[in-house]
């Protein structure tokens, strides 16, 4: 068994003690990762942290996935420049529902050393005003204003809502209530995790360790985010996942290899050199996509996704299996796109058609007034969406 965490996937470790020594001291340590359930999907950004936690669990320590169902109601100001609308409890719980299933791809919730799943509403719901006053007395306004994001707001003369100052308090209290030895999360959570460290020290005289993991950018190089639609969900179908990885910008190939695969450092350096010397990045993306689909699905599904992808994009063929869309009579093309579920609104449909994104039996359709009747044609929207128009 590997007795040290690998350095891969770690940005910085905040510790006062000899971390490696502590890891192997025989003491069962408690590591927690808090996720903000503002969306229903765990994506590859979370995966960087979850992979690290899996390593830690394999060493025999306790890992805890904390659903910030209480926190979600405040909203995390971390990556926003404007005050964020709090979610309702119902929205938060709906989002949290599938998290355990998704996290199972990395963590073991069964067996001798099961991962814990916790909800931070458990202890935050029962705090009263007096408790909060006592907790908040452990922080100064100055400490909070130091936060990068708040400094940015101030310099842009944008308001900071007082409730946003309460967020580090919650996260800090989570660390205390979980009796965490180690907090882990993305670098964007550094401030909040250090707040947890501060509060653990103040309330329990316990110095916990903070591990930050690099943030993984989305396929287009911007921050991975639902609102940019540039994320890869860990439950995406093998084919979708493969396709999305094939679409990442070239600059991210090495970072994805580094943070998401177990390919050796040596081999990654070699790939880097080859790309820099002019080899086609596409081949390495294919390797990367295969590795990631293998990790999150299986080798077999990775192979199938790869073959299918090649069929469609290299050989310009249609997929082996295309779903039928069955209707009678004739239908306007935009209505059809909406009813078949290929688009989520008529305006999206119109936009794609007008931007040359629609083909029927390989012929471009650009007139949004086109009427179609079903007679076995194959409709292709964008690069990867196909349906067959059938009469019932």
């Amino acid at each position: 068994m590997n007795k040290a965490l690998t350095n891969r996937g770690i940005d910085k470790i905040y510790t006062d003690s000899d971390f490696e020594k502590l890891l192997n001291s025989g003491k069962k340590l408690r590591m927690y990762f808090g996720v903000d359930p503002s969306g229903p999907i765990i994506h590859l950004g979370h995966a960087v942290v979850l992979k690290k936690m899996a390593e830690f669990q394999k060493m025999g320590h306790t890992v805890i996935l904390l659903i910030g169902d209480f926190t979600g109601m405040i909203g995390d100001p971390t990556d926003r420049n404007a005050a964020r609308q709090p979610l309702t409890r119902e929205e938060v719980l709906e989002n949290a529902k599938t998290y355990k299933e998704q996290a199972k791809k990395f963590l073991n919730f069964e067996g001798e050393n099961p991962a814990e799943l916790r909800y931070n509403s458990q202890w935050n719901d029962v705090l009263n005003f007096k408790d909060i006053i006592e907790l908040s007395a452990n922080f100064t306004v100055g400490q909070l204003l130091e936060r990068d994001m708040f400094q940015k707001r101030i310099s842009e003369q944008k308001p900071i809502s007082l409730h946003e100052f309460l967020y580090p308090l919650v996260q800090g209290y989570d660390a205390v209530m979980l009796d965490a030895d180690i907090q882990i999360g993305g670098t964007d959570q550094t401030f909040n995790m250090l707040a947890g460290r501060h509060l653990s020290k103040a309330l329990k005289n316990k110095t916990n360790i903070v591990i930050t993991c690099p943030l993984l950018e989305g396929t287009d190089g911007r921050k991975m985010s639902k609102s940019y639609n540039n994320f890869v969900g860990v439950e995406d179908t093998p084919f979708d996942m493969y396709g999305k990885i094939m679409s990442i910008i070239d600059d991210l190939i090495i970072k994805y290899f580094d943070l998401l695969t177990d390919i050796s450092d040596e081999e990654i350096r070699d790939i880097k050199k080859k790309i820099e010397s002019g080899e086609n990045p596409r081949d390495y993306k294919a390797k990367l996509a295969t590795e990631i689909v293998k990790m999150l699905h299986s080798q077999e599904e990775a192979n199938e996704a790869s073959a299918e992808f090649d069929r469609i994009f290299k050989e310009k063929q249609k997929p082996t299996e295309i779903e039928d869309f069955i209707f009678a009579g004739s239908m306007n093309i935009i209505d059809l796109l909406l009813e078949s579920g290929l688009v989520s609104s008529k305006s999206e449909g119109r936009r794609i058609v007008e931007q040359n994104g629609l083909k029927i039996d390989d012929a471009l359709i650009t007139d949004i007034k086109t009427e179609l009747s079903a007679s076995g044609q194959v409709l292709q929207l964008g690069k990867r969406k196909f349906i067959k128009l059938k009469n019932n």
Copy 2:
């Protein structure tokens, strides 16, 4: 009945509407004054506000004395430059106990239009974290930092504890829960009262009115404060009260007349002229002291206090009635001062004796080792404290 509040005792009125018109609109208005029960005594500083409230109650409106028993546990950062230690609930309730009795000297808690006595723990105790987050979302950090006192702390590089930012929130919520039309308080409460105005507007779309009253300095000209021992309590004995007023610095005579008595503006102007033209301020202080004792006790007690004061200080005589302190054998002078209750510690006793503050039968005693036996002597500590030493 006087249909307008007099201008005396008002610093500023924050209003969007025609205040006089509103006062006489026939609507029964709700005015509240929040007191921070950090000490057990209502002093002449509070009296300025309570006198104003009494006027208002006589006009037929509702007056509410709010005991900040919840707030007291946070501590009001208003007049402190360092973070303040919160009081316990028990300390706060102990202090609040006597408030109604003291306030009765101004407000009528009985009859057809009784004053209300409320405790702000009633609604603040039941707030949970989510409620507080929602309330705090109505304030920005920028609004709070604008507060003078916080600006001062920042410029002096002294920390502001986060819990102090929650204070205006409480006061604001008080105004909402009391459905206040008018908030009244000292000018040092302006910021908090405006927070109440802001929150009433945000939560109830109700624009309440804020009235600030000038702060009354203590006898020595500094802020009236328990820690400076320069305050006059509304329940001080007539003689103590009279003596304390006689001890105020000359610069305060006119302000005391203005804020605490019903002597006409004209007459006050006249007194001011006479003092400025060289008349002995002592005579006007005597008039002031008589007025204030009359207001808080009775005309008769005012007359008695005045006569007694003159006996002792003008005619250098001892008081008409001196309490006995009975003991047997002999006793060290410092122990005696402590046991008789004239001083609250031996060190205080030693200090006073060494500073020539002790006489026995008019003879100065400066040796702290003096042993006394009781044989009817009169012991005088400072100017106004007397006991007779008696053997039982």
